[in-house]
Subunit: 339 residues, 2 copies
DNA sequence: TTGTACGCGTTATCAG
DNA sequence: CTGATAACGCGTACAA
């Protein structure tokens, strides 16, 4: 087993001091050509690579960024991670991914683990538990310590930091307007509970579009789904009790499940009922009919987040100047709406 | 801005030596009650937490494990990552995720970045590029250095290390047998190019099942898809030229796309043609008809991988005793086959 | 041109 | 009971 070689080994082997080796490997002018060549050759031969940990300790820079997301088996979040990775790697950063699993406690634990020197900055999206609880002290503490922090997608106004979001209101507005333009009159919204920031925004956009078109907002057309998983029954109750001709869903799964139920009731899509869903993931593309969707541009979001965060890390100015970047969503028309 | 506090700060503030503080915080018997209480109170007040990096340097243990996967916007890999995270966190480890993006070069770069002290061990699945190239020197070098390494799913026999896979042959066999039991006679296999280890295995299982049932293996029933993405044309060519009554696909996307095309040709599923796909992801569940699938138990795989790797990391014996854990796949019957 | 000494934050050993 | 010292691996200001 070829143990990792250190400056010390090289120094001893070549009968010079450690600092000479260090300088030689940085091609310092201070060192004679001969010595440099000898040392560099030796280093290459034994494949010397500086130890990241030692450098981190010295520089107080780890070149790691911590990403905390609620779930990883999730199309949108993974596209964001991919974007973060992509940009971070070009800047020589690694990405440490931690999952909060939608739990406040795990979010706190993970942040504490990472905050003790493991990372130079955070990119995160709040767990639903945290948003429900409304307790953001763990974020505030980290920020207090001077660790750069960026929130994306699921954010809160209660903490001051950089943010990247898509314009969820606009997404919902676009979608709703599209349905109205099709001539739909009874448009339903299928959403989650209100404490998720994104759901609130989407609902606002939905309502605004209706009002702008002088349509009435009827609470009975709004279905608030309980926690994910059991979709069958709520849909049944809802669609059996109200007659709709269009449905906007805050995620793909709701849309697919909704379409399935209505089709089983003999409705034709999109002739009888149009569907639009948030998050343009795999399901939207491969659904039958394929689903018209709001693309949230996760990868771009991740890249933007990484760019902003890394800039902040490397600028190290004390100024608390935070920006919120708002990306625009796009409507991708497929077969669940009428062209 | 409340800077992170160190032992040194505490020592200075309390007029004691650094080592006294260190010991006091570890509740050492050597330190008097009074001093300990004073120091512990102070530490708690200022929320002292030891610096991970310094500890890593000292212990030569980072408590990080590196996970390198070809793609993260991918249901199977994310379930594995989730399993790894889950187990690793219970053992106090963080997970550093790097993406090879199916590229040999990125795989090498990422491994080198992580191998210089950032992680205590690797869990990885080979990029297709690497499998195509057949060059595993980067893995061998890392293993040479004594860094524990575990391969999962996309593995190779050319490197000696721990491995976790599902029995892909068995999965394909199970699926094929199911189709045969339904009375299908013209069973197609839709797969990728042969250099992916998993595809090879699945093909072998498919062939074996046919032979065991005294059925002829006909090359014309095997469709080798080019790289992912453009599914339309190859399917058209294939299904227009051969008549089949069942299809086994090595992934969900192929299955969904295949079903779609055949439905567009007026075939009924599963009455005219049965479908089974590998990887029980979202698409399988929500497809129409829902897809009978081989569950690869990604999360279990991740947990098993993390368990084996961490055990190896913490046992630090020199013995090169490597095991290969083989998980059994499960057939999940849905509506694309006949019950 | 090369080497010494120090510091990053921690722990362990040993001396007082 | 407490403190000084060395060590982990590296970089660098300063001394030789």
């Amino acid at each position: 087993m070829k143990q990792k070689i250190t400056l010390k080994h090289i120094a001893k082997e070549l009968q010079v001091s450690i600092s000479t080796v260090s300088k030689a490997l940085k091609n310092s002018e201070e060192i004679s050509r001969d010595t440099k060549e000898k040392i560099q050759a030796f280093a290459k031969l034994y494949n010397y690579k500086p130890n990241n940990i030692a450098i981190s300790l010295k520089n107080k820079r780890t070149k790691n960024i911590g990403v905390i997301i609620p779930d990883i088996v999730h199309h949108f979040f993974t596209t964001v991670v991919r974007g973060v990775e992509k940009y971070a790697n070009t800047k020589g950063y690694n990405v440490i991914v931690c999952l909060s699993d939608e739990s406040f406690d795990k979010e706190v634990i993970n942040m504490e683990m990472l905050a003790n020197g493991s990372i130079d900055g955070f990119i995160m999206s709040l767990s639903s538990d945290t948003q429900l609880k409304g307790d953001y002290n763990h974020l505030k503490e980290v920020i207090e310590q001077g660790i750069p922090m960026l929130l994306f997608d699921r954010i809160t106004n209660e903490v001051d930091c950089d943010k990247v979001i898509i314009d969820d209101q606009m997404g919902a507005y676009l979608a709703t307007q599209k349905l109205i333009d099709e001539g739909r009159k009874k448009i339903a919204l299928v959403t989650t509970e209100d404490y998720l920031s994104v759901s609130r925004e989407r609902k606002t956009g939905f309502v605004r579009a209706l009002k702008d078109n002088h349509m009435e907002v009827q609470e009975q057309y709004i279905l608030q789904m309980p926690t994910m998983g059991m979709e069958e029954k709520p849909f049944k109750n809802f669609f059996d009790s109200v007659e709709v001709d269009a449905v906007l869903c805050v995620n793909e799964i709701f849309a697919i499940s909704g379409m399935r139920y209505l089709k089983s009731k003999g409705k034709r899509i999109p002739e009888d009922v149009s569907f639009i869903g948030f998050t343009d993931g795999l399901l939207s593309k491969y659904a039958n009919p394929s689903l018209t969707a709001i693309d949230q541009h996760g990868e771009k979001m991740g890249e933007a987040a990484a760019e902003i965060l890394i800039e902040k890390i490397e600028s190290e100015l004390e100024e608390p100047s935070f920006k919120t970047k708002i990306l625009s969503p796009t409507l991708i028309e497929r077969d669940s709406t009428i062209n």
